[in-house]
Symmetry: D2
Subunit: 331 residues, 4 copies
């Protein structure tokens, strides 16, 4: 991209980069798209982009050459990217005034390219059990659901998890919750019920049911959900606060219905609820997810894989609420 | 009270109760008031009150007789009440549908009386270093600030705590944060600055400053506050989310500015913020607070002590935003 | 029992007790034995027993009558006992000088009887999916493994759990770890390998292999086990400390090889290891386990069910290292 | 050093290094010694040292030149070193088989030199309120006590901390526990009682008292200590396990009395005790300590400052059990 706007998106032929010290050259095989990519392409989203700018953050690929002093990766290694490369483990970067915003395809250059060179520390070895398209879905959607449910909310067997969506993060949440022994209630459009059940959901609630909250209470014998993966945002947080159990956890992840959250104070306070603000996860969390994916044979849900030349169609599909992830095949 | 409404509040002569098995009779010496008491008296607050009803929840007094099978208390013990007597330790009672609401002076009878009989488990031994009026402030305001800062948000030396008020819970928060080694920023009306500083506040911000948020960033060198004791509620939560540090904690305690919270999603998510809903604390937390009060010589801040016959004046004072607690002297 | 010693164990006909206020009468259907029961019967174990004394702690049965003021249980309810009835949730009772020792069949009367009356708070509703013999194994062995792995060590998908035994707590540990998505390595006698694998163990190591530690390292690609359920004790803790991963957790549960633990300091310190002392679990943990058992269809492993009159054979069996639990059928 | 052994320790004139990219050159002003330094010099401690080898790990100094791409430090910045430079935050490096051992003055070159060049990420800005000798004590002894008490055991106001020593880590533990509002019991040689009390200790127990454990119980009204900073090791862990409170924390830090720990199993299990293996702390913990030192005006306790040419006397002093730290003045 030479400027902001979809019409500025061109496939340019540029020399294949040589990896400087500490970096590796990756042949990109697949890139998973996030709704954020669409916003960055179309509006820039207020980010300090350097042009020409390459969008996209979530790659799977193969190391094809290594710079000096590269220690952990070798030619031939299958790798995936980290979304927030400066966040290794523990506390993430940033300040109260300026939250962390240095992500691939945002502050840092993106990965919608045939070849990218990047520091080896920005890459994690891909799961052995996933193909390229599947592996590309982990760096943002996968690690977000994992970090929320496992490393913050600490879901375990016997818990009930409420997930009010069937998008990319939501379906990872379903699979990760099931892999940790939890019961899962999915809420979404009725045409997705069968696919959600097939993926392991224990219960499905039509998201437009008038007695939506009553349905949650009934399915949990009034206890409420121990965990809510709040991927919708805006006023929907109010529903999460009402649906959650005493001592329960709400992971605030998405803002599809608005960036201004609202919720009633009393149930939040009287039920001793914890709300976790979630903005993807650390590199360590991604490594933990990769191990769990291989051990538990988790297969990410992909709605459609598009060819690189059909990128615009792929971006359009994001608006229609896919069931799982949209992936672009690069090689 | 024979019905809801301030005009229904009468001082009745009733026989001094005899404590049944497991209960003790307490001579009440002082009762600290909460804004909730005013609401219960004037509106009932939707609670299932049994009439005649006695309001008030926070007593300090002395055990003057004991029923059969009382094991932990003796005649002469100085005691304080627990606000939520069924919450001993760990998870509080209640369900997702029906949060815990069984409190003294709410579901259970209150303590604005010369003598009350109650289960010994509803009482905790009073701190040795406090007088009756001071001790009566712990069961609600004191334990709320303690539970929030120490048992949920886990404040420690080197942290910065932001407290946007000078009310009862707020000033306990100031003293508890200082007792745990933290730096404290108080925000309030300018006429309270000197008293807040005298109590140990490190910094004071006029709550009406136009550059309020900028002031927080400057005092923390952009880091933001590690902990915010959000005692105001409503749209003020938005300020807390902006002012808090990366990885920081917001304790949502009060709803003076409204029961409908609102806040921006992005800083909550990108700063990995945790919001804790706080509704007082457990009996175990109150015991821990009593120990800390004695060890650290914490003296609760009382704005005014009223005589029992001046109860209406005391209730009126609650509306004017006291600096610390309002207490009614009973004996 | 009228005194300590197995020869003092008699089946006495006593009147069926009437439940006093707050208590219920339970018809006992099955009692699971623990090695502790054998020690109490044969040596008294230094406990302040009141004679005549009834041993046994882990019952499953049915409520057949209720005293006054019983609120949570009804006639016909299937119930199981709590091992440490005063430990509800949060911090357990006891002091630094005198640890909690008030257990059923120890300080409190036991349950090896056709009928027992006890406070309703000492009982938890039995899982719907288990028969009486199975349900009786939860109050001690089951809740110990659950409390250790889920509520203290917080096992999750992708973790590796090392369990060096095939006894009652160990096999619950295996099933609970699997229910939470972990990989499990069992170590034991070779004749138990097939049964352990059939229960879901991912790997089995002969406990007498000379290169036992090397085997653990190989199975974990040098990482070590994230969690070790140390049910053996004595000098075996040294093996746990060597086998555990960086940042890993050791749950110290048993003392079969001695009450004096020993372990090397350096790997404990350099690997940032946490050791949790585990002595059963709280009532809340037992309720959580019951829910997980029903949801995940966990079937406790019972080696042999004995008739009540064969109690001595059952006690003898405990010495031979059963594969899972020994249960006595009462009704 | 050209080989292991104190007689191999020479002060060599070598060219002042030029900092390569990402590194800075530090003029060393003071180096605090640890008992480990003595062992490395005299025995090599089994570490893979490269000769010529420079011992020492804990420096304070000043940045006097910067290599390319240095972003966070500038000429003139006062800095201290990190002891385990690869441990930034969260999980430390290493595996179950091979714990992390890459420390300054161990695997990496040490700092007992006039000038050292090292990556900027290995340095942290020094506290503003400490002089060079004081600042040099933080990288090992200071951060170890901080990480143990604040980041693992989470000490707070009202807690009692038992510290059975008056060495470097122990006295930091005393100061850090007090800064977090705790009560502190120090145990040591009687000649150190007055100095310990002067530093803020609330109680002092002669470490040779026959009724040592009874003394702890009496000072805590039988509750035991909430936290024990176990800096002695070997069989002393048994005392810690007996002295600790129900639900208490033992931080296992030192091995002065032996590398083979031993302790009784029953109180560990019945009191629900947690043992934390502590091997210094992360870079993030050191940054947190620096902030707390400045805010709380903590002044590290230095027994003696030696001139660089008196290094052997300084090493000898380590054997005699100093009260606080031994520091070598370099510039």
């Amino acid at each position: 991209m030479s400027a902001i706007g979809r019409e500025q998106l061109h496939l340019n032929d540029v020399p294949v980069p040589q990896p400087p010290p500490g970096q590796v050259l990756v042949k990109v095989n697949a890139v998973a798209l996030n709704y954020r990519d669409k916003m960055v392409i179309e509006t820039g989203r207020g980010l300090p982009l350097g042009f020409p700018f390459t969008p996209g953050s979530d790659l799977s690929g193969e190391v094809i050459s290594t710079g000096e002093n590269v220690k952990h990766l070798s030619i031939g290694d299958r790798v995936i990217s980290t979304f927030t490369p400066d966040w290794t483990d523990g506390l993430r970067p940033g300040t109260g005034r300026t939250p962390a915003y240095r992500t691939l395809g945002g502050f840092y250059p993106g990965v919608l390219a045939e070849y990218v060179a990047m520091p080896e520390k920005w890459l994690v070895k891909a799961p052995k059990t996933l193909n390229d398209a599947e592996a590309s879905t982990l760096p943002c959607a996968g690690v977000t659901a994992w970090f929320a449910l496992v490393e913050r909310a600490r879901v375990h067997a016997g818990n009930t998890v409420l997930i009010p969506s069937t998008g990319g993060v939501a379906l990872f949440g379903l699979q990760i919750a099931k892999a940790n022994g939890a019961e899962v209630i999915i809420s979404g459009r009725p045409e997705n019920e069968q696919r959600a059940i097939a993926l392991g959901a224990d219960h499905f609630i039509d998201k437009k049911r008038e007695d939506w909250l009553e349905a949650v209470y009934e399915l949990t014998a009034d206890r409420g959900a121990n965990h809510v993966l709040e991927v919708i945002g805006g006023p929907h947080l109010a529903k999460a606060v009402q649906a959650v159990a005493v001592g329960g956890h709400i992971c605030q992840i998405g803002a599809l219905e608005g960036f201004e959250l609202s919720a009633p104070a009393m149930p939040l306070m009287l039920k001793d609820v914890t709300i976790h603000g979630i903005g993807t996860g650390s590199r360590k969390a991604l490594e933990n997810l990769v191990r769990a994916v291989d051990r538990k044979a988790i297969k990410p849900v992909i709605d459609t894989v598009y060819e690189f030349i059909d990128l615009f169609s792929a971006l359009d599909h994001l608006d229609r609420g896919p069931f799982g992830k949209i992936v672009v095949k690069v090689a």
